[in-house]
Amino acid sequence: MAIDFSRVFDALPGLVWTAFSDGRADFVNSRWCEYTGLSVDEALGEGWQSAVHPDDRADLVGAWLSFTQAGEPGELEARLRRFDGEHRWFQFRFCPLADEDGTIIRWCGINTDIEDRKRAEEAQRAQEHRARMIIEGLPAIVTLMSPAGELEGGNRRMLEYFGAEVDELRRRGLGHSYHPDDQGAVVARWRRSLETGDPCEFVARSRRSDGEYRWLRTVGVPLRDTEGHLQVWYLLSTDVTDQTWAEALLAGEKRLLQMVAQGSALTEVLEALCGVVESIAPRSLCSILTIDPDSIRFRHGAGPSLPDPYNQVLDGLVMDRYFGPCGMAANLKTQVIASDVATDPRWRDSPWPEMVLGHGLRSCWSTPILSRNDEVIGVFALYQHQPSEPTAAELDIVSQFAHLAGIAIERAEGDAALRRSEARKAAILDSSLDCIISIDHEARITEFNAAAEQIFGYREDQVAGELLAEIIVPPRYREQHRQGFARYLATGESRLIGRHTELTAIRADGTEFPVELAIARLPTDGPPAFTGFLRDISDRKRSEEALDKVRAELSRMARVTSLGALTASIAHEVNQPLSGIITNASTCLKMLAAEPPNVQGAQETARRTVRDGNRAADIIKRLRALFANKEAAGESMDLGEAASEVIALCASDLQRAQVVVRQNFADQLPPITADRVQIQQVIQNLLMNAVDAVGDVEDHPRQISIATGWQDADHLRLSVRDTGAGIDAAAAARLFEAFYTTKSEGMGIGLSVSRSIIENHGGRLWAEPNDGAGATFAFSLPCRSDGDASDAPVSAPPAAADSRLSGVKR
């Protein structure tokens, strides 16, 4: 019987074996031996184990022994070595064989080759692994959903984003992660795709594990098997928050700017602005405070989501930098981030933290709103219910919207200012004492106020649209006015705009009067328009002329006596010889240092050095004489001597100008009592003017005569006569008006001041043309002052006019 069984076993299509109850093999069939290449003897007992792959052996043997101990049938898998050394996977299936008492006497087993199945399984596993890797590696949140819409799984990013495991998420339901505003649309869209099997796409805010809503763009794609059955939905979500922000920002910005441009009320614009910000940064509560014109208190701008009581506290709050972040931001003109109000030490002593915490707010980011001029005109604040630090993107949004708020506030202020200014302008126009006349780009009158009507004698309706020049400009100035206006339009250059100018105007009745005019170009778009402010200055002019005269004389006097001006002149006179001294001395040294020394040359240069030194000393001496006793105004002096000193002082100028000065001083004139310096300055002024006058003379000698003599019984006269181009009678009268600017090298003084000096001394100064070439300037001074010069040898004043210089006429 046993032999029969053994043949049966050999014939079975598998590797058949039996084992004792303790697991040791007591039989293997011939197919077993053929496969493994082991003999029966080698296989029995524990010998079969050598055919098991070394990596599998320990596990297999361990498991097998535990089955034998338990006495249960079982299955195991392990690789068996074929006779040629190749390992193939086999399934080991075995059952216990028991006797009548239930005692296990044998184990019967069969090993089946499962290599092909195993390979297929491994290939599938590898494929799945690769798919998994791809899903994990995608830079997106991948969610797998069953055809029925059940959550099946997702990649690591997905689990991290939601911060929960699949089971937990399945329980929660993914739909609830979406923002309440977006949930309805997302769920409806997803249901439709589940029904139709069509791919879907949506953008919606989804709450991240940290509670922040992020904009996710989700694409759902159905995966089908070869027969077209829907296997699984792949949902790929990418975070497009930043991109969506940018788009929302742009759209919001556009809408707000439109509102500003349309002149919407400020509150409306600011509330809309808060709405935009809160939709972009969903957990934020936005507040905008403006600042009172007094720059002391905040005013409520907008805070649609903040609790009303809190808004009310902020309205009218003093801008205290220690009260809270908004006060600090406004005062320090810088962004202030209080990321956790509860722990921030900066407002420890302020009631503010308690107040905001009481309203359930934990963080506050305050940003100053700046005007174009960089002045703080408000504060933009974002509150959140939890401690929060702004991200870079949020800071960007804050700065953009603070900027927008600034535009809105400034525009509103501008509008208000404009309204005020319009009202003020109307009031000014009506009540102004000045004439206010506006013209358009053609110089036609567009505005003519009440004062203008009164002063010029026209009604506004008579002159509106008329050319300005033909109404208020005297005929002789009209062409000039027309050219000036045309020049301004062509070149933008104007002699009038932006200045105060005095002009002559004409009334309706033809009378002329002086006006002060200020013209402003109106800052409008389009063709230029101008407003002129005219004031009748007839009265003022009269009193001012008198005042001006005094003032001008005073300032000129101050200049005449200014030592500073004299110093420059002294320096110039002295520097010339000094230069010669130094150069000559340098040359002298060089000559003496030569081999052999050039003694003769050195002597010559030393002589020159001495000469120049004397020249410098001479100048200093004369200057001293000129300034000596400067304090003693009213000293007794000889007119001729004073004139000689002046001529000596001016020697280098005269020499340079190649002018010959003829002195013609009358003998034995009595002294005069006068301020010597002032009189000498007058003489010098007349002399230097004469030098200038003859400067252009080429056809005859450049000659100047200075003469003294009697003017009349009580007055001496000094005259300076030149042979220059002369003066015409009309000019002679004006010579003394204009301030005669001194040449830089001289210390000349204005003729006007000269005249004042002479008149101060009781004399007169005048100019007249000569019979021949040139002109004569002369002054007279009283020579008798209470007889204090009685001891001096004096000549009697002649009765006749023959002592006057020939050619000088009175």
Binding site: A568, N575, P577, N584, K590, G601, D612
Partner: protein
């Protein structure tokens, strides 16, 4: 031997015309002095001068006038101005107009030689 550089002095002050050439000759320059810009302009020195020392304030044509006239004629002879005025603003004004230096009288020998070495090409 190399020809010495020709320095022309134009100054209406006689003491300068006397002293400056002597000093410069001691240092190896060839020197010609003129009492006015007009005299200089009508002389042959206009085309030969390597450097000019010009007084600023002279009757009729001033130093800067002469400078402008030379430039008009296409001459870029280096110019050192000298002046007895002590007004400091003169110096930057003349330097802006292209002068090499502007010396205030009285000036030292070394200031003069420095100005000339700046005006004349090296060597």
């Amino acid at each position: 031997m190399k020809k010495p550089p020709l320095v022309c002095v134009v100054d209406d002050d006689e003491s300068v015309r006397e002293s400056l050439p002597d000093l410069l000759k001691e240092f190896g320059f060839a020197v010609e002095a003129f009492s006015s810009a007009e005299d200089f302009l009508t002389s042959e020195a206009v085309s030969k001068a390597d450097c000019l020392i010009l007084d600023i304030a002279m009757p009729r044509m001033s130093g800067p006038d002469l400078q402008r006239e030379l430039r008009r004629r296409g001459r870029n002879t280096p110019i050192v101005f000298i002046t007895a005025h002590s007004e400091a603003s003169i110096r930057p004004r003349t330097l802006r107009q292209g002068a090499v230096a502007c010396l205030f009288k009285p000036f030292s020998q070394s200031a003069l030689l420095d100005a000339l070495s700046a005006a004349l090409p090296a060597g």
